[in-house]
Amino acid sequence: MIFTALLSVVTSVVVWILNLLPSLPDMPQEIVTAAEWMVSQLESVYGVLAAIYSPGLLSAIATSLIALLLFEQIYHLTMWVIRKLPIGTN
C-alpha cells in the first residue's frame, strides 16, 4: 500500500508534466504496416532457422553473434573492470 501510493504520486507528476506538452502525431499507417510485415517475415525466417538449428542452438548462435559484434567493447569493459579489482593490479 505504501509503495503503491508513492509510485502513484510519482507517475501522476510525470503524467501531469507530459500533459503540458503538445501531442506529436502518430507514425503514418503505411510505415507501420511495412514494419509489421518486416517483423512477421523476421519471425518466419527465425522459425525456419529454429527448425534447422533447433531453438536452443539458435539462441546460442544469436547470442554469440551479438557478443562477436560487440566483442571489442565487451573486452575493454571487462578488462577495465578487472584492472580496477585488487586482483587485477600488478
Binding site: 500500500m1 509503495f3 503503491t4 527448425a51 538449428y53
Partner: protein, 561 residues
C-alpha cells in the same frame, strides 16, 4: 595471392557457409517436390482434414494408373488390385458385377503417400472412408477387405482384412483422413444400390441424424434440454421406461446397473456421472450375443455439472461413432457362463448373458458401430447421477424419492458443502461448534497478517495498472518518436517468442526473387530424411566452428591492439 586478415577470412567463410545453405535448401526443395508429386491445393502441406485441395499428380501418372501399370508394386497384396485397376481404366468395370474401390490419402508426416485398395465389398459397406476433422484430426476409418500400402513397404506390410470400419484409427494416426476419392481419382465403389455418389470426400462428410434420437447430431448434454426424445433422460427414467415397456434396456446392462445400485458397489466418491448408449440391431432378436451387444459407458470425472459426456456422429457409411469426453468405464457383454452379473439371465433363449466391465482411465474413448445398426433402433442416453456416498444413495433409494430429486441435486451439487448433522447426532453438533471456534480464530489471525502484509507488499495488479497508465500517457504524447523503439521491441519480442516453425514451415517470399520462393525444410526432411539429417548437422557444425574461429581471431586482434 595475398594473405587475408582474420576479419576478411571470417567474412569469406560466412559467405561460403550461406552459399552452402542456399544451395542445400534449393536442391532438396526441388527434389522433395518431385518426389512427392502432390500439387498444392488450398494450402500445402496438409494441416487438417478440411484441406481436401491437394490432388495427386502421380509418381508415374495418377495413382490408379500407377497401380495398373505396376509402378506401385503389389508386393504380397492381391494381384487383383492391379487387374482391377486395369479393368476400371479400360472401361471393363461393370456396375453391379465388379466390386472394388480405390482411394488415396496423404499423410501429414513420415510417409507422404498411402494407397488403399478394396475389393469385394460386403453388403452395406463403403470400401474406404474418411472422417473429416469433425470426427477428429486423425480419424481415418477403413471398410472391410481393405489392403493398404505405404510408400516404403508397398504390399509388404499390408493389412487384411481390417475389421469393419474403424479398427484402424490407432494404426494410421499419422494419416489424416483426407482421401482423394472424388474428382479424377476417387473411391470407386460398385456396391449395388449403394449411393456412392454421396461419398465424395471433396468437402463436408455426410452426416445424418438418427430421426428423433439424441438431439440431432449435437453433443449429448447432461441437462435435460440437450436430449430430444427423453426429456430429462436419466437412467432412472430409462429404467422407468423399461418398467413401462417404453424402453428396452439390454438385460445385461440393466442387470449390472441394478446390481450396482442395490449393492452400492459403485464407488460414488469416484464415479458420479454416467453416460449410456445402447444399441440393438435391426432384427427380430436384437440382443443376441455378439458384436451387437449393448454398451454402457460410465463417464467418471469427479464432478460434472452441465458438461458434455458424449459426442456422437454418424459416419458417411451409416455407422456411428461415439466419443466419451471424460474418463470412462465400459460395460461389455461377454459370452460365458460364469457371469458375475446377469447370471442366469437368458436374454435370447440360447445364450447366457454376462457383462464385464473394463476401466479406462483416459478420456476420448471411441466406440464405433457398423452400419448394421439400425438408426431406427438406436437409443442413446446421457445422464448424470451423483451422490456423495453409496449409503446416501441407498437411503434415498429406499425412500424412493432419490430419483425424482436427483436432477436438482446434480445441478446444485457442490463438493464443498458439508453434510448437515442429523438431529440427534450430538457428537456431530459438538464437533461443528469446535470447528466454528477454531475457524474464527484462524480467520482473525489471517486478517491481521494480511493487513500488515498489504501495507508493505504492493499488489502486482495495482503496480501493473500504474505503469500501464504511464506508458499510455507517454505513447500518446510522443507519437511517432516512439515508433523505432516499438519496432525493435516488437522485432526482438517476436524473435524471442518464435519457436521452430514445425510442422508448418512454409515461408512464402512471394515473387521477391523473380518467382515463388518457398522454404520448407520439413518437407525435405519428410522426403529424404537421411540426407536432411546429414545436411542439417553439417550446417550446424559449420556454424559453430565458424563462430569459434571468429571469436578466436577477434580475441587475437583485440588483445594485440
Amino acid at each position: 595471392m595475398r594473405d587475408l586478415d582474420p576479419l576478411e577470412k571470417f567474412k569469406l567463410l560466412f559467405l561460403l557457409f550461406f552459399a552452402v545453405v542456399i544451395v542445400f535448401m534449393s536442391t532438396f526443395h526441388i527434389a522433395a517436390r518431385r518426389a512427392e508429386a502432390w500439387t498444392a491445393g488450398s494450402d500445402d502441406p496438409l494441416t487438417s482434414c478440411s484441406d481436401f485441395g491437394d490432388t495427386y499428380s502421380g509418381i508415374g501418372g495418377n495413382p490408379l494408373q500407377d497401380l495398373a501399370d505396376g509402378i506401385i508394386p503389389l508386393g504380397s497384396a492381391p494381384a487383383s488390385a492391379q487387374t482391377d485397376a486395369q479393368d476400371y481404366l479400360s472401361g471393363g468395370y461393370e456396375p453391379g458385377v465388379d466390386h472394388y474401390a480405390f482411394a488415396w490419402a496423404k499423410a501429414t508426416s513420415g510417409e507422404p503417400f498411402k494407397l488403399w485398395y478394396s475389393a469385394t465389398l460386403p453388403s452395406g459397406w463403403t470400401s474406404v472412408g474418411a472422417l473429416s476433422d469433425e470426427f477428429g484430426e486423425n480419424a481415418l476409418y477403413i471398410g472391410d477387405n481393405v489392403w493398404s500400402w505405404s510408400p516404403t513397404d508397398y504390399g509388404t506390410n499390408y493389412d487384411y482384412p481390417n475389421s469393419p470400419g474403424y479398427a484402424n484409427n490407432g494404426i494410421y494416426e499419422d494419416a489424416l483422413g483426407c482421401l482423394q476419392i472424388a474428382g479424377d481419382y476417387y473411391l470407386r465403389g460398385t456396391y449395388d444400390g449403394f449411393p456412392i455418389e454421396n461419398y465424395t470426400f471433396g468437402g463436408t462428410p455426410v452426416t445424418q441424424d438418427p430421426p428423433g434420437q439424441c438431439g440431432s447430431s449435437k453433443p449429448f448434454y447432461t441437462n435435460k434440454d440437450g436430449l430430444a426424445d427423453y426429456g430429462d433422460a436419466s437412467i432412472i427414467n430409462v429404467i422407468g421406461e423399461v418398467a413401462n415397456g417404453d424402453f428396452t434396456l439390454a438385460g445385461g446392462v440393466y442387470d449390472v446397473l441394478m446390481h450396482e445400485i442395490d449393492t452400492g458397489t459403485i464407488d460414488q466418491s469416484v464415479y458420479k456421472s454416467y453416460a449410456l448408449f445402447e444399441f440393438r440391431q435391426n432384427r427380430e432378436d436384437p440382443w443376441t450375443y455378439g458384436t451387437d451387444a449393448p454398451v454402457l459407458v460410465m463417464v467418471t470425472p469427479s464432478t460434472i455439472v452441465g458438461e458434455n459426456l458424449l459426442e456422437w456422429h454418424q459416419n458417411p457409411d451409416g455407422s456411428f461413432k461415439f466419443t466419451t469426453l471424460k474418463s470412462s468405464v465400459r460395460w461389455e457383454s461377454k459370452s460365458d457362463s460364469n457371469g458375475d452379473y446377469g447370471d442366469g439371465y437368458d436374454e435370447s433363449g440360447n445364450e447366457w448373458y454376462d457383462i464385464e466391465y473394463y476401466y479406462y482411465d483416459s478420456g476420448n474413448r471411441e466406440f464405433s458401430m457398423s452400419p448394421g445398426w439400425s438408426i431406427d433402433n438406436i437409443r442413446c442416453v446421457n445422464f448424470i447421477f451423483a451422490s456423495d456416498d453409496a449409503s446416501t444413495y441407498d437411503v434415498e433409494w429406499q425412500h424412493g424419492d432419490y430419483f425424482g430429486d436427483y436432477t436438482n441435486f446434480v445441478e446444485t451439487y457442490d463438493p464443498e458443502v458439508e453434510e448437515p448433522c442429523s438431529t440427534f447426532d450430538i457428537a456431530c453438533h459438538i464437533g461443528k461448534i469446535f470447528d466454528g471456534v477454531a475457524d474464527t480464530f484462524l480467520g482473525v489471525g489471517e486478517a491481521i497478517v494480511g493487513g500488515i502484509a498489504s501495507l508493505f507488499i504492493p499488489n502486482v495488479d495495482e503496480v501493473k495498472s500504474i505503469f500501464t497508465n504511464l506508458f499510455d500517457a507517454v505513447s500518446d504524447k510522443l507519437g511517432f518518436l516512439l515508433f523505432p523503439f516499438e519496432f525493435f521491441i516488437d522485432a526482438f519480442t517476436g524473435m524471442a517468442n518464435a519457436a521452430s516453425c514445425a510442422p508448418n514451415c512454409s515461408i512464402n517470399f512471394g515473387n521477391m526473387f523473380g518467382g515463388d520462393l518457398v522454404v520448407d525444410p520439413l518437407e525435405i526432411q519428410a522426403s529424404i530424411p537421411s540426407y536432411y539429417a546429414i545436411g542439417v548437422n553439417i550446417i550446424r557444425g559449420t556454424t559453430v566452428l565458424t563462430l569459434i574461429g571468429a571469436f578466436y581471431h577477434k580475441f587475437k586482434e583485440v588483445s594485440a591492439s
